[in-house]
Symmetry: C2
Subunit: 146 residues, 2 copies
DNA sequence: ACAATTTACTAAACATGTTAAGTAGTAAAG
DNA sequence: CTTTACTACTTAACATGTTTAGTAAATTGT
């Protein structure tokens, strides 16, 4: 009987397995981002805004997996840097509506090639079928109610 | 043509998909940890130490996906709390060898049931086959060279 | 209409993440 | 043997993560 008889191997524990896999994928992306003075979080926010158009902050928080207090600070910085714009909601004045600016969109476009190249490197090693399969399973896991 | 013509949908982008899936799994685990005054990081460290025995800090950093500066601080706190013990390496004095204490192991044992229950809830909804398949794919992705 | 509750966000405090720089011990090269 | 490089970690500074508390606007209950 080995020493970890009472727990699952960490490589078969979902939280750690997801984290390790993500670190592998993020390593080269972090390299890319460092070159353009953008954090991982800001990159996610730009991606979400580009995809969803003008949305309220809570939506960004949900989609980009950030808590509102973090988002408050990060969006303040991004607004100062001209990557996003904010305005008060018209019908509901509690809401802050956020959208990506042309400058923000340009950052995405300028780094699309690098981003794709990283994805292709991974796909070349694992195969497109497995990647698709993995993404399907991840979407399904995300929808589980806990 | 929709507005995100130049990027992949975020739900099909590996980094965000991995993050969202992880948030789903972690939510109930964070609830559990809050009840026992343990952070997600400390829990990972205990799991890794329980699995690997006495190891140097760099190994913990790799396995638990933490950077060394974070680990330095966290292990200092965990040593104060009696959950781990540290000693200088005998042959190589640069190394710090770390192992879990009985107190640390007890924390794992006391929360094993909750941890298993969470896993079972997820398994009940997705099915064991899919979970196994997902874990296989995650291990494979983690091994990709980028 | 009014009080109570809820929602969307902000503020503050402390832990952790992240990068750069520093220290001490070890290994490699000449 | 000595200089040089490298390795394992620590420290410091600042960004972000996380929790708790607070504010203002909207909603609900009566």
């Amino acid at each position: 009987m080995n020493r970890q008889s009472h727990t699952t191997r960490t490589s078969r524990a979902l939280p750690i397995a997801l984290l390790r896999a993500r670190e592998t994928v993020m390593a080269p992306i972090r390299d890319m981002l460092q070159g353009i003075q953008l954090t991982e979080q800001k990159w996610r926010i730009l991606r979400v805004l580009d995809e969803m158009g003008e949305v309220e902050q809570s939506t960004i928080a949900n989609e980009a997996c950030l808590l509102l207090p973090s988002l408050t600070r990060i969006l303040r910085a991004m607004e100062n840097d001209g990557q996003i714009s904010r305005r008060q909601g018209s019908t509901d004045k509690r809401r802050t509506m956020v959208k990506i600016t042309d400058e923000g969109r340009q950052i995405l476009e300028e780094n699309l090639a690098t981003s794709l190249a990283i994805h292709n490197t991974i796909e070349a090693q694992m195969g497109q079928e497995k990647i698709d399969n993995l993404l399907d399973l991840l979407e399904e896991l995300q929808a589980v109610k806990v």
